[in-house]
């Protein structure tokens, strides 16, 4: 589905992504883990077109999408959410969702004035869909609240909701569970599985919660210092020496050696 080949992203002398190569299978829920500063979010940003890579190639279903702007990737079915929830703060939660589907009739200046009826029909359909999504996410009561005023966890739900407003092919979730309570996290997990099975979304999930990763993701990719360290099931990753070293440093091994 998505192939990343030898991707580099440098900020001055700092190599945030330093030659990452990985492949994401169609229909999978791939977990992306790694210690803080491993380059996970930068990798997301480069794939999603927010940042242009220093070098390297990203392809989607064989098509080169390196450096395409985000709105074009959106129309190809590539969506992402943010680690720190983003929202249109001056609009209601429902309006936030209704913003998402691109190419609405009302976006054309001419039709704004002369296609009122068609726009109204489309808006009605979108509104119904938005309400459906809100209900699915159990936040119907927030429909008319300003999105800037709801809680952090609820904004996270809204982020996920956004990806449900269109038929996405692949969705990148950046710490969708951060700052969200257990019950809500399970709701989000259920939603992800359902979208994956019923609608065939491919997911890539950055997450620090290993239970969450373990429940959803296969395979899991571990990154450190801008490179891909290992790929496999969560148990394989957990047993990987290099991964343990990246997370805990070499201290533990030395301690083992001392005890032995």
């Amino acid at each position: 589905m998505i192939k990343v080949e030898n991707l580099h992203k440098h900020f001055g002398g700092f190599h945030a992504v330093d030659g990452a190569t990985l492949e994401i299978e169609q229909g999978s829920i791939t977990g992306l883990i790694g210690p803080n500063g491993a380059g996970k979010t930068t990798l997301f940003n480069v794939i999603a077109g927010v940042l242009t890579p220093t070098s390297g190639r990203v392809t989607m279903a064989g098509e080169d999408i390196t450096g395409l702007p985000p709105h074009e990737l959106f129309h190809k079915g590539l969506l992402r959410t943010f680690q720190i929830a983003h929202e249109f703060h001056s609009m209601s939660c429902r309006e936030n969702l209704m913003m998402v589907p691109g190419d609405q009739i009302g976006e054309r200046l001419w039709d704004t004035w002369f296609g009122r009826k068609r726009i109204a029909d489309q808006e009605r359909a979108l509104r119904a869909k938005a309400d459906e999504v809100l209900e699915f996410l159990t936040i119907t009561h927030l429909a008319d609240h300003k999105a800037g005023q709801v809680s952090g966890g609820q904004k996270k739900l809204l982020e996920l909701g956004r990806t449900m407003m269109v038929d996405a092919k692949i969705v990148f979730l950046d710490e969708v569970g951060a700052g969200v309570n257990r019950t809500l996290l399970n709701t989000i997990g259920d939603a992800i599985i359902r979208l994956n099975q019923d609608r065939g979304y491919t997911f890539v999930v950055i997450e620090h919660d290993m239970d969450f990763i373990g429940r959803l993701c296969d395979p899991v990719i571990c990154m450190a210092e801008g490179k891909v360290l290992a790929q496999g099931t969560l148990d394989e990753i957990k047993a990987n020496e290099q991964v343990i070293e990246a997370y805990l440093g070499t201290g533990l091994k030395n301690k083992d050696m001392l005890e032995a």
Binding site: A48, V50, P69, P70, H71, F74, H75, L79, R80, F82, H86, E87, F88, H89, S90, M91, E95, M99, V100, P101, G102, D103, Q104, I105, G106, E107, R108, L109, T112, I119, E123, R162, V166
Partner: protein
């Protein structure tokens, strides 16, 4: 009677002119605030965009007058206005393509765009002067007054007259229509919502599939229309002279900042705050106070706080006070 006379004098010299001037400033400030909210820089070329749009309108008005087209009692300039808007739209879209786009793609900092807009300002300034010359131009026709001072006196039997120039009435009506359309557009249409979304959160707007180039183009079109309307109304009300539009930049920015940069409602409120302060502080209150105060307290001086020569100082003072005590403006703007 005394009170009424005082009130009529106040309306004649303060309220009516300030409302007309406030509408013009509000339209100008709306343009500045939209650019700030969506393109994220202070557009110093705005005054000269107004001058350019007004200039095209003046030229078309002259052409219409020379072939005998008129708009009855209304000024011919209103008929020419759509052409002026079209001219200004073409101009700003061209500048955007040729100048701003380059910096936008490089993701330049706002301060660089501000300097770039100053360059555009000088360019447009020059273009307008080359085409129409630096002098004052006359393009007003149609009925001069809606109510004449003498008629008002005869009608009411008061000593004081109230004159309402037709241009003042046209200014207020046109501004009201333009603002109503703008707010309907921003709040109710999908394009307007895309603009608000882009202003709220650019990254998210892009990742929601909103085409930034389209949002930017629509913004420029709206801004050019607002600027031309403001420029033509100001020119009709006072007179058309390229340099005055450059000077207007200060009260316009003061209005936008007083209201809160990036907030359209604030721009309108700010326009009226600045206009009323300016007119009231430079008005000689002797006449009105003469009616309102008991004879023993009648002022002997002019009771003028500031000479009209210093009217721009008022905008400066307002700017300083607002930036010191409430930098986000009356309504919460985007500049923190």
């Amino acid at each position: 009677m005394e009170f009424l006379n005082g009130f009529v004098a106040l309306s004649n010299f303060v309220l009516v002119p300030a409302i007309a001037y406030g509408s013009q400033l509000a339209l100008g400030a709306l343009g500045v605030t939209l650019i700030y909210g969506i393109l994220r820089f202070s557009n110093f070329a705005h005054g000269d965009t107004m001058a350019f749009g007004a200039m095209v309108t003046v030229l078309v008005t002259w052409a219409m007058q020379s072939i005998g087209i008129s708009f009855g009692p209304l000024p011919t300039a209103l008929l020419a206005l759509p052409f002026g808007i079209a001219g200004a739209v073409l101009m700003v879209l061209m500048t955007d393509k040729m100048v701003y786009k380059f910096y936008r793609e490089k993701k330049s900092k706002p301060v660089i765009l501000v300097i770039v807009s100053m360059g555009v300002m000088f360019m447009m300034n020059g273009i307008v002067r080359v085409i129409i010359g630096p002098n004052e131009q006359q393009f007003r026709d149609g009925e001069r007054f809606l109510i004449k001072a003498r008629e008002f006196k005869n009608m009411t039997g008061l000593d004081e007259g109230l004159a309402i120039k037709s241009t003042q009435a046209i200014t207020v009506v046109t501004a009201a229509i333009a603002v109503a359309l703008l707010f309907w557009f921003l709040n109710k249409t999908r394009t307007g919502k895309s603009m608000r979304a882009y202003s709220d959160n650019e990254d998210l707007a892009l990742l929601s599939g909103i085409n930034p180039e389209r949002v930017v183009a629509v913004t420029w079109i709206i801004v050019a229309a607002l600027a031309t309307i403001a420029g033509v109304l100001y020119g009709l009300d006072k007179s058309f002279k390229p340099f005055t539009y450059f000077q207007l930049l200060l009260p316009i920015f003061a209005s936008a900042i007083v209201g809160g940069l990036g907030n359209p409602l604030g721009a309108i409120a700010g326009g009226f705050v600045v206009a009323f302060s300016e007119v009231m502080i430079t008005y000689a209150w002797k006449k009105v106070l003469g009616y309102w105060l008991p004879d023993t307290l009648e002022p002997s001086g002019l009771v003028q706080l500031l000479s009209t020569d210093y009217k721009f100082a008022v905008s400066f003072m307002i700017l300083i006070v607002v930036l010191l005590f409430r930098p986000t403006g009356l309504f919460k703007g985007k500049a923190y």
